[in-house]
Symmetry: D2
Subunit: 283 residues, 4 copies
């Protein structure tokens, strides 16, 4: 039994759902999940579909047929992927350990179905954690005027390990355009505020100063503009005047790790689709 996941967006018109479902039915596939959405303002159709094939599936052949018939007819941007193949995830960290501990704990207990070939950091502080979980750790310092050098080393490692996507688990460095182009909508960041409030540095300090009654965390795909990429997931926590900046930072940690983990799971399940700098999150 093989299972594939299909993600589509295309101009909205009539007959798409019937066309797509008939296609898979005709290929002896059993559609076990379909979720669809139409952005009426921009007249765009979105769909996610899971389909099972009982015989040995020729994935390339299926892709070719789908591309030549349905996809072309409806001018689709589309992607068919085998649902079984685990993706390879790289984790970038700096000095904060809470997201790293959380991700590695989930990984070890089988909650995250992913491979983690490497952890990259601009500091060596978290190396012992990586080691205690048995994950290779690469310390690549980022010096002020030699950022591109560091990034070249990172890219080389990512390429060598055939990394599919990158998670910035409180990696406190700005990602260059070159890296973003190499991993379009495949770099997931966790920002420690309820975006678009408090973008940029020291959001807990700003939240404290403004006197908000709720803080948040936001996981998003990284784009060229800082903290402005498509939002995958957000969550919040109530605070009061009793909370010092240090309290906000501590409370925020829990938000950050939960929100980041949820975003990664959505990405792994191929339930995220980016369009117009926003995400469609399928159920």
């Amino acid at each position: 039994m093989s299972k594939i996941t299909l993600l589509i967006h295309c101009p909205d018109t009539s007959g798409i759902i019937a066309g797509v479902t008939s296609f898979f039915h005709g290929q002896q596939g059993n559609i076990i999940y379909i979720d669809q959405y139409v952005d009426r303002e921009n007249k765009v159709f979105f769909m996610r579909l899971e389909c099972e094939f009982s015989e040995d599936l020729k994935l390339d052949r299926l892709k070719q047929k789908f591309g030549a018939s349905i996809a072309e007819k409806y001018e689709m941007t589309w992607k068919i992927a085998s649902a079984e193949a685990p993706e390879k995830m790289a984790i970038f960290v700096s000095k904060y350990e809470h997201c790293l501990y959380d991700l590695l704990g989930r990984y070890k207990s089988g909650e995250l179905e992913v491979e983690i070939p490497l952890i990259i950091s601009n500091h060596d502080k978290l190396q012992p954690i990586a080691e205690s979980f048995g994950i290779p750790f690469y310390h690549i310092p980022v010096e002020k005027n030699r950022k591109s050098e560091a990034e070249a080393k990172q890219l080389e490692l990512l390429k060598k390990e055939k990394i599919d996507f990158i998670v910035l688990a409180r990696y406190m460095q700005i990602i260059s355009g070159e890296m973003i182009e190499a991993f379009p909508n495949r770099i997931i960041n966790i920002h420690h505020s309820f975006l678009p409030a408090f973008a940029g540095a020291k959001p807990y300090h700003s939240a404290y100063k403004r006197g908000v009654k709720i803080i948040g965390a936001t996981s998003h795909y990284v784009t060229a503009e800082l903290d402005a990429g498509p939002i995958i997931e957000q969550d919040i926590s109530r605070i009061s005047h009793h909370h010092s900046i240090r309290d906000l930072i501590l409370k925020g940690r829990d938000l950050e790790k939960i929100v980041l983990a949820r975003a990664i799971k959505l990405h792994l399940a191929r339930k995220t689709l980016v369009y117009n700098n926003k995400t469609v999150i399928f159920t």
Copy 2:
């Protein structure tokens, strides 16, 4: 332009989605929304679909065709309804006014697309509110040993006004089996606890006594077993030891009115489907 809503459940098998969508495509319909779900444990398929027809739609003819072809083939329990026809809602109240004010305010401001031909109460306390909103109010006292008499009067009124569904907006009486049979999955109650915790009378008192840190409200369809019907919507609110029973009651009011209104909106949009004493809530 006519729009219909289709709700289905049937034994899960392959080809249903393709079959249904092809049917509507063949009838020159444009499917504008589809949401589907499979209960894998019980092998049941669920679907909600909205379809637009540009020509004058013969609804009866469409139903007949669908019934004779797709529905029969897949042994479906199904319902096709015109999405335009507003439903007729009766409100039952006792002495608490917060849900009534909330519903009538939403109704008057056009937020609830529904007709409200009547309000029924076992007390006359809220009659002035009904009058100030211009809704007919019927005071039908419920005496201990003459409940069936009162209910006969209620049923007569409901029949006369062709009521589609009933909302118990803190109506503090138990509904008889006869009434429930007359409106199966069409009586919506709001219970002032996070069910199944604190079913029955005085849930805020029980919550206070137990020392919970969160209270809730639950809207559900009424079934023969008290407070045990299919849950449509729930929400919660944090409390602390500072809150007295009276505080819980006050905080709970806001929960009750919001949760009840959400449940009514889901029902009106035909986004609820009951199966196995649970609801499928389509997005």
Copy 3:
């Protein structure tokens, strides 16, 4: 039995709590509630205290004594108020009715212990609602180049009715500096976003465009800078890509009315204290 509420802030030093509590003990008062907070960063002490007196209380005398002894010693900014006297609240509205319906429903059912001598609006659309609840309604149009004229009329009415504080229940006009000075920290606004995100006009449109996964509402005291006053209360609601701008507006209504009502209740209970453009909210 008389009850008073005391609000204090002053430079932090040792002995304040003992000093204050001993004072009230010495006046035969029974302290039934005390909540205190120290802003360590700015070295400011805050306190709220409720005290009961069994004999006939001479409020003026108590104030005088407190002022001359404790308040002077610790350089306090302070306020003693009789907890029984209901405050007079004016409501300002434009064309949106949901907050108005909600406030008047709470008022009529005795949930808001307040007097509402008048409703002021720049439109006449909501006059029938005011009338159905029996509250005087004043239609004071605000014309572009004659805003000060309209505001003079408003101020005259507010003065005549001895209004204590103003609630802007989705009043879509900017409040002038003169009005703010006349009611310092006594004008409560509801803004339909999670401030500081999406300050200014059309926040739901901006939230939709940004693709946030959570929307919010914020109630704050009005200050000269638009949507930048001390925040009293905030709350949020989850959304998804399925929600159109219209959906956000509808979902937001529930947030707005709940958050505004909570803020008003806190204000009425004298549980809010403004300092440094932030609020201390006592429990």
Copy 4:
């Protein structure tokens, strides 16, 4: 500089706050925090106070004086503790690792100011995790008819290591009365439901079957009655019909670890006070 924490409950009467604060003022203490609460129904007074002493504090002497004067006068149940001394926490686990990973990650990063002298388990599955964090792990199997033997070993270890309190981090065994008596209100459990709903075994299965729209987790002190002890903290997460039992279990894990950690932090900060099988949680 020394800091103490005082927890009190006693019959409510007038003058307690003034009495207590004057006492500490008289001892040259600086009260830096006070939170008080009166249960009016049962006429009980509760207080938590933090006080700093600039000179070398004689803790025993302070306790003696307080006991002989204030505590006796007001018939207080009270406890004064040095705020600096870290407590010793034992962790009990079975086979689920998510709470253990979470607690140890927090411990290692300095978030939990506690000592963890040992982890006890009825299985050896999680031994490698304990080892990777450098914490002694004791495998004490619990056989059906020899439970008291296992518990005797546990008690011996706990005594030897001078354990202050126990955390049941998804320890799937019922705790005996003897153990509970040895650690009254000092055994913290995490139950994977929103108590009192779904007490006992397999709460996620029950939640799925009932069709609730929200699941929860509850941390409470262990008492003789199963899952009925004083609740310290609860939180919830929204679910839908899409979630299978496995999904609930996965979503629940995040709730469990967050709620348990919050409860432990409250306990460590001595912000919990048990009375009448409920908790007062100070801010």
